[in-house]
Subunit: 473 residues, 3 copies
Amino acid sequence: MNDAKPLALHPDRLFPSDPTQRMIARRLYLQVAGLPIVSPHGHTDPAWFAQDEAFANATELLLVPDHYVFRMLYSQGVPLDALGIPRADGSRAAVDPRAAWRTFADRFHLFRGTPSSMWLNHVFHDVFGLRVRLDAGTADEYYDTITAALQTPQFRPRALFERFGIEVIATTESPLDPLDHHAVIRASGWKGKVITAYRPDPVVDPEHEQFPDALRRFGEITGEDVHSWEGYLRAHRQRRAFFASMGATSSDHGHPTCATADLSPAEARVLFAKVVSGRSTPDEAELFRAQVLTEMAAMSLDDGLVMQIHPGCYRNHNRGLFERYGRDKGADIPLRTEYVHALKPLLDRFGNEPRFTLILFTLDESTYSRELGPLAGHYPCLFLGPAWWFHDAPEGMWRFREQTLATAGFYNTIGFNDDTRAFLSIPARHDVARRIDCAVLAKLVAEHRIDEDEATDVAIDLAYHLPKRAYRL
Amino acid sequence: MNDAKPLALHPDRLFPSDPTQRMIARRLYLQVAGLPIVSPHGHTDPAWFAQDEAFANATELLLVPDHYVFRMLYSQGVPLDALGIPRADGSRAAVDPRAAWRTFADRFHLFRGTPSSMWLNHVFHDVFGLRVRLDAGTADEYYDTITAALQTPQFRPRALFERFGIEVIATTESPLDPLDHHAVIRASGWKGKVITAYRPDPVVDPEHEQFPDALRRFGEITGEDVHSWEGYLRAHRQRRAFFASMGATSSDHGHPTCATADLSPAEARVLFAKVVSGRSTPDEAELFRAQVLTEMAAMSLDDGLVMQIHPGCYRNHNRGLFERYGRDKGADIPLRTEYVHALKPLLDRFGNEPRFTLILFTLDESTYSRELGPLAGHYPCLFLGPAWWFHDAPEGMWRFREQTLATAGFYNTIGFNDDTRAFLSIPARHDVARRIDCAVLAKLVAEHRIDEDEATDVAIDLAYHLPKRAYRL
Amino acid sequence: MNDAKPLALHPDRLFPSDPTQRMIARRLYLQVAGLPIVSPHGHTDPAWFAQDEAFANATELLLVPDHYVFRMLYSQGVPLDALGIPRADGSRAAVDPRAAWRTFADRFHLFRGTPSSMWLNHVFHDVFGLRVRLDAGTADEYYDTITAALQTPQFRPRALFERFGIEVIATTESPLDPLDHHAVIRASGWKGKVITAYRPDPVVDPEHEQFPDALRRFGEITGEDVHSWEGYLRAHRQRRAFFASMGATSSDHGHPTCATADLSPAEARVLFAKVVSGRSTPDEAELFRAQVLTEMAAMSLDDGLVMQIHPGCYRNHNRGLFERYGRDKGADIPLRTEYVHALKPLLDRFGNEPRFTLILFTLDESTYSRELGPLAGHYPCLFLGPAWWFHDAPEGMWRFREQTLATAGFYNTIGFNDDTRAFLSIPARHDVARRIDCAVLAKLVAEHRIDEDEATDVAIDLAYHLPKRAYRL
């Protein structure tokens, strides 16, 4: 195409344009750009690393699994079927992946200024060596280049893992998962470190449509009577131990709110019986999830798993889309979230325990300065996870730092989580986080609030030491 | 006056002072500065354009109708009577308009840094050619210059409309309005495009003190039995069709919350009977307004009117002022506003309808990144209106962009609304919006997140194409 | 130590690094840097100025009383006993103050980027003349230098007061305080102006564990029957008059919410009887506090005391810590706070009273643009206190200005409160506030929104005239 625009990754991207700040940011970034990637929380598929098979094509790799991307296209009138997104019943529209790619390329301007365009351009440029911008005119060139590359050995999952400089990556599995892929990876002799994390939501949320089935399978897998409260807790302890044996150093909990509870065993038993009966009210379901969080904290004291809470999302908000396409189709919407009252029962029991670590996330940025910073700046067990999901753009990362720094400092935060299933974008995402942290620090140095040697220490800590320490890696 | 300070409009105003960003912002602005004004939502008086009579004087034109201005003066102890603000009973204090103007001029420093000072200085400088700053010493010079100019043909409403480069402007009328002024404009042969918008609040809000009267007149005007649910809906359809025939392309709904409902016809009938009886509770009034929003969406699918919701204001908060001076006296205060649960009933019905457009506004900025961006970045029908009312200052416009860009991008927003009855300030307001959008884009370019040709496209889209597309103009 | 890093206070600290803005900020700051300190709200101990005794040592002066500092150390695993923080029973761990200081110095990096490090470095540099950075290697040098200096006459409280250029400082006392220290100061002939402020929370909050005792003592001190509603109100009037006679120009109210009420005398009497009986419910306690706020406003109209409300904190959130160490141990956490409905009862009565001043504070920054700016930009009695407590960092001060400027302007705000018991940090805190206001104004000038002469006026008003006017000093 004569009209193709050049694609470049500017070495100063994301740094402030003020020359003083930019020079400082450059120097700080030089110290962290090459550090290994520590990815303690994410959603890559362990099968990739177990089987090490080639990815199919550009569309299957970059478009179909990325709800950041197809969400935006859907918002501008592109039907999910036009992209070949799988439906709830497992079927898919008969769409040529190249045609789906063209639909995406035609509309790549919709992503201007969004983090998706930044990550994707990074992948296009650095992983696939593309040097023209994606648009209608270059769609086929892109599709062919990417799809061809994927067939080569250098683009197999393990080769990319090594090329990306990943020191350790955590996946996320349900207690029902046998962790076979992790076992295969460990047995393979491959040196890549892929660990799991314990995410028990399917057996914790009574409002999930598959909860009864999940509970039954939880009993089968563990051999415990999981329909009794004590057996249910024993089953969790058993699976947590198994997950830890497969490398897990953390549990993760995705709840609608951050509510915790501290019921007596007798109360918990009665509540659990109600939940198991399938007749719990929404309030009882909420109380049950709240109680389980406190039980998980108790278990963390024993087995040392770091605990993470990701609250505050209305899942599958679009009813029609959910009925047709199922979960995780870009229709999750954040909710106002409260932490101060919600966490009190758990903190009353474990807030001062030196062995306990609880990492908090939020989708409600109004809590950064009001609740989360002050909580993490006081309780020894509490740390703040990075700007999450809808807030992982450069602007969101700046807000996170500017709104938590005064009260939590840098050292009650834990560095970056990429939190992604978009494997190829992992270097891009860590690079963005490192650049923004360097930019934030450069501003502090330029305004004479910290010295540059201090900023260098902090930049390295945020990129490498803090995530390792927080997740006990 | 020897002491008079010069008044200038700097060509780089509102652009970042960083030289890199400023140069880019200048180039972007050059591409949009001269584009026609598209004003799809506002509150100018159609009588001005129908009758084309001269405005009376500086005070009547610039001070008395502008609640942004007299609100600030009132907050600093100036009685409304000292400004000649009309009272609820229609009377006015016997105040010399020149004296009121002096009171204002004496206190113009109170507006330092506010958008009002920016808009007013733009009007003073560009519309009236003033070159000294407004203060106590120049009050009379201002009053005389402005009042004299207003008597000349070039300052008649139609002449100003043309001078301002307005391509189309929408006013806002109640269903009870016969739209006579619009009819006069259309019949006059004047080429200015002035359209109406359908704002049915007076016949939708059972808590408005004049609701029973309004409902009765609604019946008289339409000939429908508006005290039956079906007749009431038919009356809306009829008036919407009439409004559309007078150019309307949108409806607008100013509600205390964004609640929507999806009652069965039987439930709606029972609720409506209660509302008509005058004995509805606050909860029932709220449910009724919620149900009407969903009915309006249903009608939009048929007649193509774009729907707007402006929720979240406590109207007439100052009881004493309301009793003495009535509505709209600068005592409206924003409220915390929820969208995710509130919109679900409406979105469950119409959220995936390709023919439907719903533009959302907010006075609660905490919803930008948490709720509105993610909603608009998913639902095909949803678009975000610009930073509104209390948030239309440069800082508010920056926050809007920085907090919605990651999730909604630029293309799920609709460009600018001036939303004003201050006719003379319309060019100033659009100029501010264009400058801020150019500044936002310049920062993205300077930090190498988008290329300048992309930024140019976006700037032009925001200033011109997006409002035309969103409002179907 | 060879490794000691230099400690410097850069003359341009906190100014934007953009050269245009920095030059303007410098010029503005030159106009305000030397203005006297007006400190209308704070928590210094009047005994210091009455007795004028030497402070004990570095740890007792700078570490033990500063919950900003030991909170952060506690959050990173330092037990309060290791710092010698007093326990609830009055005992203290037998910790060498030098050892506590070393514990702090070892971890001074935790404060990077926080306001505490900025204030402390200012104190170290300007008050004690230290020129190396605090860290493990310089801990002893710091401890010795500071402790030795404190034994000299120039470091006695009155000498520091004069050195700091304090024109007036307000302390905060309970109605039960006999104000003996203030009497001693007044009788001493010393020219330093130290006034009190009326903070009746202990006799207003039925949920405080010492409320019954406090109420009894309130009766003893005033000779009123404070267990009757009328006697209780008379007791307040009497103590307010006494406080005013000792210089008080304001009352202050720290409540969990901003709720106000306007009960009839008969209702209030019934409620008070319930409260006095010790059997009030949480809702009744809340209603009582709400009613007292309105009564305080009524008294302000008579005695002219300016009223302040500081709402929205969950006090003593950490149960274990509270039981062991008591109140005010850095475990107070902000809460979501509502103002629009909450203030209506009070404003309905007094909102338009020209003689009444009510200064509002918040720990919920989401209310700045949504509620507080619009309220203060309308009601003549309302003014906004500065960014408070968790939000008094440079970033918090910027947010305060950027989110209230559009609606409240500069002139519905009241300049700075240091709000501190850390006496030595008072110049540092005012300096930070002045620098940030100059930086905010410099940006407005650099972006051609106000002229530099206007910015100079505003800077001086914010630093000096507005606090004096607002607090009637």
